[in-house]
Subunit: 341 residues, 3 copies
Amino acid sequence: MATTVWTRRHILSLADFTPAEYDTILQTTASFQEVLSRRTKKVPALQGQMVANLFFESSTRTRSSFELAAKRLSADTLNFAPGTSSLSKGETILDTAKTYLAMGADMMVIRHREAGVPQAIAFEMDRLGVRVGVLNAGDGLHEHPSQALLDLFTITSLIDFEYPRIGLLAGKKIAIVGDILHSRVARSNIWSLTATKAEVHLAGPPTLLPQLFAEWGTGAEKREGSSIAQIPNRNLFLHWDIEPALKDADFVMTLRLQKERMTAHLLPSLREYHQRYGITRDRLKLCQPDVKVLHPGPVNRGVEISSDLMDDPQFSLISQQVTSGVAVRMALLYLMGSSKI
Amino acid sequence: MATTVWTRRHILSLADFTPAEYDTILQTTASFQEVLSRRTKKVPALQGQMVANLFFESSTRTRSSFELAAKRLSADTLNFAPGTSSLSKGETILDTAKTYLAMGADMMVIRHREAGVPQAIAFEMDRLGVRVGVLNAGDGLHEHPSQALLDLFTITSLIDFEYPRIGLLAGKKIAIVGDILHSRVARSNIWSLTATKAEVHLAGPPTLLPQLFAEWGTGAEKREGSSIAQIPNRNLFLHWDIEPALKDADFVMTLRLQKERMTAHLLPSLREYHQRYGITRDRLKLCQPDVKVLHPGPVNRGVEISSDLMDDPQFSLISQQVTSGVAVRMALLYLMGSSKI
Amino acid sequence: MATTVWTRRHILSLADFTPAEYDTILQTTASFQEVLSRRTKKVPALQGQMVANLFFESSTRTRSSFELAAKRLSADTLNFAPGTSSLSKGETILDTAKTYLAMGADMMVIRHREAGVPQAIAFEMDRLGVRVGVLNAGDGLHEHPSQALLDLFTITSLIDFEYPRIGLLAGKKIAIVGDILHSRVARSNIWSLTATKAEVHLAGPPTLLPQLFAEWGTGAEKREGSSIAQIPNRNLFLHWDIEPALKDADFVMTLRLQKERMTAHLLPSLREYHQRYGITRDRLKLCQPDVKVLHPGPVNRGVEISSDLMDDPQFSLISQQVTSGVAVRMALLYLMGSSKI
């Protein structure tokens, strides 16, 4: 098995993850998924340790998933709620993090509306010489690694439940549809999926696609007169139209549409968005017959995806994604806790 | 003992509870009450299971009671807070419930300001074929089963601490006073109390009593020129005046007065309400000498009940109700978890 | 060792704490500090007991510290959040406390913006004859005992890590600088520090110093034409200027400046406050060479203390205070739970 000794104390970005690291996470997640199928869904791995959930940007779904993952590893948890916090008393974010460090946090799960906050906290922890792991649970428009990893686990374990690994995606086509530009989920997914041998196709309105493909860090040539561009060495393709992205796709990832994009005039109406980029049964006929659809949730029914399709277990992996989320987060906390660095 | 094997996965309404089911709950509660009298008030019954408290309508008291009940059964708990939730992002209630299902919830405790939400979620869980129990913790004006069951436990265990059972209420007279019309507590209590051999008398302002007795599901004849009506086959009586309801009563249940009823002109002043329907020492002289008073809390002191009476342990069962609440909720979660269906 | 059998059920004020009691707390804290240095930072001391955190005034930092302390003693915790509570439904504070009592709380940790609330609740618990401990986690401008005790532990354990005790402070000079008048932290610290043989010097703007020294409970003579006053029998000195307070000090405690004091015209600008009373490297040259600085947090960087000094481990004890906080609170909950009264 291609797993390795884990050497990352922090999980901040997937930009430099190695194939072996992805496989270690996938295999560790599979073993926790097995734990979660038992009646007593709990292991003593982090007994007596403390996980601080510092959600400067509020979230029920992701915070609950991390909280449950920590509890199922028998850790104690503390939740930081920005509304009633010292932040309103003028404390800096780094000081808040250092307060939870001083209380004895062994790991911190950080979400913030600004890109780079988890990195800054991790940097500070390292500077202080403390053995505290920092996990990025979503920072601005930057990254959301645990979401991309749960997506990766969901699709690889569908192919091989016992032994999920990135090699299973070789030759698969994966479409990511929607507001790529503003999506931290898309950014993390592009790192992980292009690290496999899959072809990754992005599709969305021009206003919601990265204007400069170079910003993905690899450079890209745009072919004149076409809505498609390929980014060299990364098997990554960009489209303004949804059809070429969906054509023969094995997996379709839809992104949540932030309604505030419309007030910023980046989008016409929700209805028009659905007509052009919404995932429907009809559109899925372009894909492989056994295509599966993913969405990071929460879903705007009838916008990113038609309501009946979302509930159809033949196509939708949405509920498996949520389930995978707890197991992936258990794996990440567990691996960080056992980091050899 | 008249207990039976438990066969309900959900607890949504008391409308069709059988006497044997009530007795099973009462006996199970009695055994948890004994656990709660120990120094270590905890049992491993639900170790490794997860109870999701989905309180779409906020509540500290009931949520705390359920949270503690779950923790004392060694379950892990997740609390859903509507303020910071995906609901504000447009997610439907069913999708929220399905997210917690996918996270691995074994049981869901649901409160919502609309009647029928817990039922809809339970229906969806059954449709999905999953073994998740749904407990109604208050839905609109409809029902609040755990409150009625803790009331039932409080009064039956007062009569026989070791062996509480509904048969103990045969021949007892129980008055329920206040805003019957808008009270989910009253509705659930009417189901449970009329299932005993007790006489149940409702009293309240005409604007706050059900206009059509038929809506209680049994039909009723209103006697002309009188403020009393009896509902056939259910030992249920309705009064506009409080005195006939209190006459020789063994137990008096007062209901919380929602102050917003006054702004809707359904009530004159709080003072006038207290004068006509408030429970005072004087009024209690109409009752049995050993009458006891119950209130679901939180109490408007000096409105539904005079302040000194509320604190008088000779009459008030209010604090016993809160204590019973934790034990009853442990019993309900335990029984649902062991359901044979 | 000078420890004694613990006989206080409640911890409300340090006004009448004996030297033996301080030493018992310091020694008990030292033993929990050792627990917190292990990988599994947890003991079963309060297994199956329940600690209710009733924070009528919201707080993340102190609530988190108490919550973690309780969890590390293996207690179950319930958090009361005023925003979504029965308080908004008109329930009195005493009724809220009695509800948590009836739910089975073994201890209550109370914070309230009004002085005297924890005392009133403790009085009510005693009147009811129940064995529930009440801990004051900050009441108005009155006291904040656990903060003063963690300060005491921080400085005594710095002198003797193994065997912290108040006798270690004999002959030490401790300065408390800032808004003494409005600080419950200062009030509690004055009780504990003057109980040692240390000299305690208070310094702050005249508008933020107690006008009548007599209000400290001991009477004091103010020397005409001077900004210094000594309170007899308590080794307590007051200054309008910071320099005499800092002169040769071993420890400097800065207090958080509430910005609302400025809008009340008790203060000029933050900048001017920093110039006159802010702790800087320059000012520390007046102190002993190994002087240490404390702050209860959260810090207004650049106001009460210069930003670089706050982060300098040679001088700052701020992070040790937070760490001590968890251990002290474990000790307090543990001692209250084992109270022989």
